[in-house]
Amino acid sequence: MRQEAAPDEGVAARATSPESIAAELASVSYLADQSLATVIFLALRLGKPVLLEGAPGVGKTEAAKAIARILGRDLVRLQCYEGIDAAQALYEWNYQRQLLAIRQAGERDVDIYDDRFLIARPLLKVLNAPQDSVLVVDEIDRADHEFEALLLEFLSDFQISIPERGTLCAASRPVVVLTSNRTRDLAEALRRRCVYHYIDYPDAAREAAIIMLQAGDVAEATARAVARAVRDIRARPLAKPPGIAEAIEWANAATVLEKGGSPWPEAFRRAIGMLVKDEEDLAALRPELGDIVEAALS
């Protein structure tokens, strides 16, 4: 008989409306816009994985961490890379211990496919304790196509087939978040199984709010100016457009410099290394930086 992972009642009860999700996310210092809150709400209620795509540094992984915090669960993170395979994602047998057990058993019968010899990797870990964890499959676009295929079984039915043991099925549907930087297109089959959201850079007002929330002691005017300047800089053809984390660092660094005695425009200019981390981008920006900062401060 085929088992089915039942929807997680606890999670469904927490998610009452997109607005309540947005409020809860805000209470753990993550400011989500309405569509992201709606997507998270739908994913929790439908019991489906969330697929978050977006440029590097728009807060995809942060969103996953925030979900784990509002649900009060551990975050199990699977960082993908080229060449990742089942042994790192699902499970592995502990051969050394199996060998030892065979030696020690001597004439006695020993089950070498016992739980003792199974090393659980992130997916299996989450499958065993779906009520206590949130799984993040980070930067799935770095993994090979084969790995995506491997994920399909897990994401659609929340089960893993271990040839020696049969099929393991989750007691309830775990909360899963996938992130992708869009360095390549993901398979349609994978997208279809997920609730999808493309995170764009936030608008200036929301970015200012994020900077205020995340940075240590940055004045509101500074946060606004940083958000405006960063928005202006992102519109240029840069090799690496600055993300939100860089904007926060820039605001922090400029504040520190200003307290150390640099006047405002100068403090921004001197801290630019925190924002733009590519020599050619810096060279292209430097002549215009003064104007950008002036415009943002005015």
Partner: protein, 384 residues
């Protein structure tokens, strides 16, 4: 539709929207439609925004087609009259404006007199091919050979090997367990080779008019034959044509290409087009460790600094950066233009791109360093 009578009447427009999406070649599964209906029910829906968010979340259109999706949504639910085609054009026009912004600086300082054929004026025009090509046989041979001869890199993934590998502890121990402690022979493994990305950039400006058809034929064979290849056209703007080249029938593929490219035989803005490629994280990431082949005469109208900058950026990412120019077919050819001299130090190869046979020969030799890469300019410079 058997299930339609069972659905509440209010759900009919929602299901019809999914069908409309399918007609516009969005891949939508029935499961997604069910999820969409569930999502709408969960959200209330209290506003049209809810409906739109639910549709976007469950159907998951890729961001490239996001505007088209939004347009279809508006047309279906708000009854707006402008067809999706106009909308897509609108999106393209916006992109062109963005490209213009990129090219603005280059145009501000344009003083240099360029070749007569190479003009920066943006002339949008359409072009048709019937896919006829004398070298069809040679091209299909090229396509079959391509899979084996493109340069490869070592993947992180391991495959078992008979000889020449490191010890595969996991499999060896497994065999040991299976054979009860007996060791028949140790198992070996090695890194699996994967084809490197191949990035082909085709200059379709007026000065390259004679060769565009040949280049598209080669590009079609590449897209069909290589595992990981991307093809772009460079003119006054950058257009990705990989997806359009996918169909096996060349005539069909070229029809799709001529639909999606708008700047045939127009001016030359290689610099800003390449800049756009590097500025787009997804394509810039594709260029990392890739073999990059630029099919162009490198006759840039106006300042060539932007082109130099973009090519230098590409070369730092690339495994191998080659420029095929039809001008190199002339035995007297010397890379004398300022633009060519500027980029010569970062080019790996400068080759003759005047015929299909010379191009295919070079591409097949990409994996073997310097086999055909008799980089004219460089060698002669060294001789001097």
């Amino acid at each position: 539709m058997m299930a339609a009578p069972c659905l509440p009447r209010a759900a009919a427009p929602l299901v019809a929207f999914a069908q409309l999406l399918r007609q516009s070649e969005f891949p939508i599964s029935s499961e997604q439609v069910i999820d969409f209906l569930k999502a709408v029910a969960l959200l209330g829906p209290r506003s049209m925004d809810h409906l739109f968010d639910a549709a976007r979340a469950t159907f998951g259109p890729s961001p490239d087609r996001g505007e088209e999706f939004a347009l279809l949504f508006r047309r279906h639910f708000y009854g707006e009259v402008d067809g999706p085609d106009d909308g897509v054009k609108g999106a393209k026009a916006q992109r062109a404006e963005a490209d213009d912004a990129v090219g603005q600086r280059a145009r501000d300082v344009r003083r240099e007199k360029g070749g007569t054929l190479s003009s920066a004026a943006e002339v949008l025009s359409a072009r048709q091919w019937d896919g006829d090509c004398d070298d069809r046989g040679a091209l299909s041979r090229f396509r079959r050979l391509l899979g084996r001869s493109l340069p490869a890199r070592a993947s992180f993934r391991m495959v078992s090997a008979r000889a020449q590998g490191q010890l595969d502890l996991r499999r060896s121990l497994r065999t040991l367990v299976r054979t009860d402690g007996d060791v028949p022979c140790p198992r070996l493994r090695r890194r699996k080779p994967v084809q490197r990305n191949l990035l082909v950039l085709i200059d379709i400006s007026g000065s390259m008019k004679l060769h565009t058809a040949d280049y598209l034929n080669v590009a079609h064979a590449i897209v069909r034959g290589a595992d990981r290849a991307e093809v772009f056209t460079l003119g006054t703007r950058l257009t990705r044509i990989t997806a359009a080249l996918r169909p096996a029938n060349p005539a069909r593929a070229f029809e799709r290409v001529s639909d999606c490219v708008e700047d045939w035989d127009g001016g030359t803005r290689i610099g800003s087009s390449l800049g756009a490629l590097v500025a787009f994280p997804r394509f810039a990431a594709f260029a990392r460790g890739a073999a990059i082949l630029i099919l162009s005469d490198a006759l840039e109208r106006g300042s060539h600094e932007e082109m130099e900058r973009a090519i230098r950026q590409l070369s730092r990412r690339a495994f191998r950066l080659s420029l095929a120019t039809p001008l190199a077919a002339d035995p007297q050819f010397q890379p004398e233009t300022a633009a060519l001299r500027g980029i010569l130090p970062v080019l790996d190869d400068l080759i003759d791109g005047s015929s299909i046979s010379s191009l295919t020969r070079f591409i097949l030799a990409l994996g073997t360093p310097g086999a055909v890469a008799r980089d004219k300019g460089k060698r002669e410079q060294c001789d001097r």
